[in-house]
C-alpha cells in the first residue's frame, strides 16, 4: 500500500509537470515589442520552479517507496545531519532559485522600466478614477493644459479638470474614453490617479502598472498589431472595480489621424 502511494506521488508529479514542460498553457497574443522578453521570463520561471518541484516530489516519492511497509520491530532511521542539514539545504536551494530568477529576469524588467521613452514617443495622458479611465491628447499645440482638480465636473464631461476659459493650452486638448494609438509607434503614457489606487493592465501588451495616488508615473510601450484590446483595472478600488475598464484600439496611422480629428471636433 505504501509503495503504491509512492508510485502515485511520482505519477502526479510527472503528469502535472507535463503540460508546463510542453508549454500547453495558452497565452494571450503578444502585440508588444517587449512581450517576448516577458514571455521568456515566464518560461524560465516555470522551468526553474519545475526542476525544483520535480526534484522534491520525486525524492519524496522515493522515500515513501523505500521506507513504506516497514517490518515490525524495525527501527526508525534518522537523516544524517538531522534538522539543521535540512534547513541549510532548503535555504540554499530555494535561495539559489529565487536569486537566479531575479538575476536572469532583470533584463526583461529593465527593458520596460529602466529604459527611458524614445524622444519621438507620442505622449498621452491617462487618468484613473472610480470607476473609469479617461485619456487626454495634447492637440495641435502639442501641449497639455494645466489640471485643476477643483474644476473636475464629470456630469459636464470635464473629467480632467481643465479650464479652457482661462488656459489657452487646454483649449485644444482632446479628452477621450478610449485609448486609440497608431501601430508601431512608441507611446509614453503619463499616468495619474484622480482618487485612489488603480492599475493599468493590458495583457496583450504585457504591461501592468499601478496608479499610485499622488504620483505622476509614466510607462512606455509600442503595439505591433492593430486590433481592439481591453484595458482592465487590476487594483481593487471599490464597488465598481469589476466594471472599470476601457478599450485600447491600435489603428493604422491613417485611421488614427482620422479618429483624432473626429474627437477634436467633438471637444
Amino acid at each position: 500500500m505504501g509503495k503504491l502511494f509512492g508510485v502515485v506521488l511520482a505519477m502526479i508529479a510527472l503528469l502535472s509537470a507535463y503540460p508546463i514542460v510542453t508549454h500547453m498553457y495558452a497565452q494571450p497574443m503578444d502585440i508588444s515589442t517587449h512581450g517576448h522578453a516577458i514571455d521568456e521570463q515566464l518560461s524560465d520561471t516555470m522551468s526553474e520552479g519545475g526542476v525544483s518541484f520535480l526534484g522534491a516530489q520525486l525524492l519524496l516519492a522515493f522515500f515513501v517507496w523505500k521506507f513504506s511497509n516497514r517490518k515490525p520491530g524495525s527501527k526508525v532511521t534518522q537523516m544524517p545531519g538531522g534538522a539543521n542539514l535540512m534547513v541549510a539545504a532548503a535555504f540554499i536551494l530555494v535561495g539559489t532559485e529565487v536569486l537566479a530568477l531575479g538575476v536572469l529576469g532583470q533584463k526583461a524588467w529593465a527593458n520596460v522600466y529602466f529604459t527611458p521613452a524614445k524622444p519621438n514617443a507620442m505622449q498621452i495622458q491617462a487618468q484613473a478614477g472610480q470607476f473609469a479611465f479617461y485619456f487626454r491628447y495634447p492637440g495641435a499645440d502639442g501641449k497639455f493644459g494645466a489640471l485643476h482638480p477643483d474644476k473636475i465636473d464629470e456630469g459636464n464631461g470635464n473629467f480632467f479638470g481643465l479650464d479652457p476659459a482661462n488656459d489657452v493650452d487646454a483649449r485644444d486638448d482632446i479628452v477621450t474614453a478610449e485609448l486609440d494609438i497608431p501601430v508601431n509607434q512608441e507611446i509614453q503614457l503619463l499616468m495619474h490617479s484622480k482618487d485612489l489606487s488603480h492599475s493599468f493592465y493590458v495583457r496583450e501588451l504585457r504591461i501592468q502598472q499601478d496608479f499610485v495616488p499622488g504620483l505622476d508615473l509614466a510607462i512606455h510601450f509600442t503595439a505591433t498589431q492593430t486590433g481592439k484590446y481591453e484595458i482592465l483595472c487590476t487594483q481593487l478600488c471599490g464597488l465598481g472595480h469589476y466594471n472599470m475598464k476601457a478599450y485600447l484600439n491600435v489603428l493604422s496611422q491613417d485611421d488614427f489621424d482620422k479618429w483624432l480629428k473626429e474627437k477634436a471636433a467633438e471637444q
Partner: protein
C-alpha cells in the same frame, strides 16, 4: 278645461327645469376654483456652451442603446433660443403643502437619468428605477438633506426614498461617471419644468402675490414678483445669459 290644465302642467315643468338648471349653474360657478395661472417661456441670450459627446464604451450594454451619439444635458436648447429643463416654481406667497402620495419616478435607462431634472415635493415618495441590464449606484449629493448612495444590480426592484428638506442638488452614478441629473425638492405643488420649447405653465393658483423663481443648473436663479387676481392668467418670461463654458 283639459287643455288649460295641460298647459299649466307644462308651464310648471318648464319652470322647474329652468329653476334646476339655474341652481346647477350657480352651484358650478361657486365650486370652480379661482384658477389663476402663470405661464411663459424660458430662453437664453448669447452663445451657450457646447455640450460634450458622451462616450459609454466602458459599458457596452448601454452604449448599444444609443446608436446616435448623445451629449451632456447641462444646457439643452432648441429652436428660438429655448431652454429646456428649467424648474419654474412659486418660491414665496404660497403655503407649504403636504406631500402627495403618488411617487415621483427617476429612471436609470441607457446609462442616463430620465428625466434629467426631476422636481417633487418634500416627503413625497421618490421611486428610483433601474431599467438597465447593468448595475447602477445612484448617489444624490445634497447639502441640507442626508447624503446616501444605493446600489441597484440589474433587475432590482425600485428603491423608494424621500427627502424632508427643500433643496436643489445634483445626482451622480458612482459606477458611470458621465451620468448626471438633478433633484428639485419643493415645498408645494406649484412648479413646472420647461419643455423642449422652453414653455412652462403653473396652473391652479389662487389669487395672491407670488414670487416666481426659475432655476437652471448652470445659470442659477432668476426671480419675478407676480400678482394674480381670481382666474387671471399671467405670462412671465425668463431670459438667462449663456456662458461659453459651464465649468
Amino acid at each position: 278645461m283639459k287643455s288649460r290644465q295641460r298647459i299649466q302642467r307644462l308651464l310648471i315643468a318648464a319652470v322647474s327645469v329652468l329653476a334646476v338648471l339655474t341652481m346647477a349653474r350657480t352651484k358650478m360657478a361657486r365650486a370652480k376654483p379661482a384658477g389663476g395661472s402663470i405661464s411663459g417661456r424660458v430662453t437664453y441670450t448669447g452663445t451657450p456652451a457646447k455640450m460634450k459627446v458622451i462616450d459609454m464604451s466602458k459599458e457596452p450594454a448601454c452604449a448599444k442603446q444609443h446608436p446616435q451619439s448623445i451629449t451632456t444635458e447641462t444646457v439643452v436648447t432648441d429652436a428660438s433660443n429655448s431652454l429646456e429643463n428649467v424648474v419654474v416654481y412659486i418660491s414665496a406667497g404660497a403655503p407649504d403643502e403636504p406631500a402627495p402620495t403618488k411617487s415621483a419616478v427617476f429612471d436609470q435607462k441607457g446609462c442616463q437619468y430620465l428625466p434629467h431634472v426631476l422636481a417633487f415635493q418634500v416627503n413625497q415618495p421618490l421611486e428610483i428605477v433601474n431599467s438597465d441590464p447593468v448595475a447602477h449606484n445612484i448617489h444624490p449629493r445634497p447639502m441640507l438633506n442626508r447624503e446616501w448612495n444605493k446600489s441597484q444590480p440589474a433587475g432590482s426592484p425600485p428603491d423608494v426614498e424621500k427627502y424632508d428638506k427643500a433643496e436643489f442638488f445634483p445626482v451622480k452614478c458612482n459606477i458611470h461617471p458621465w451620468m448626471s441629473g438633478h433633484f428639485a425638492v419643493l415645498k408645494n405643488s406649484h412648479y413646472s419644468i420647461s419643455n423642449q420649447d422652453g414653455a412652462f405653465s403653473i396652473p391652479n393658483l389662487p389669487p395672491g402675490k407670488y414670487t416666481v423663481t426659475a432655476w437652471q443648473e448652470a445659470y442659477g436663479n432668476q426671480t419675478m414678483d407676480v400678482t394674480i387676481t381670481a382666474g387671471e392668467s399671467k405670462t412671465v418670461d425668463f431670459v438667462f445669459k449663456a456662458t461659453p463654458y459651464v465649468y
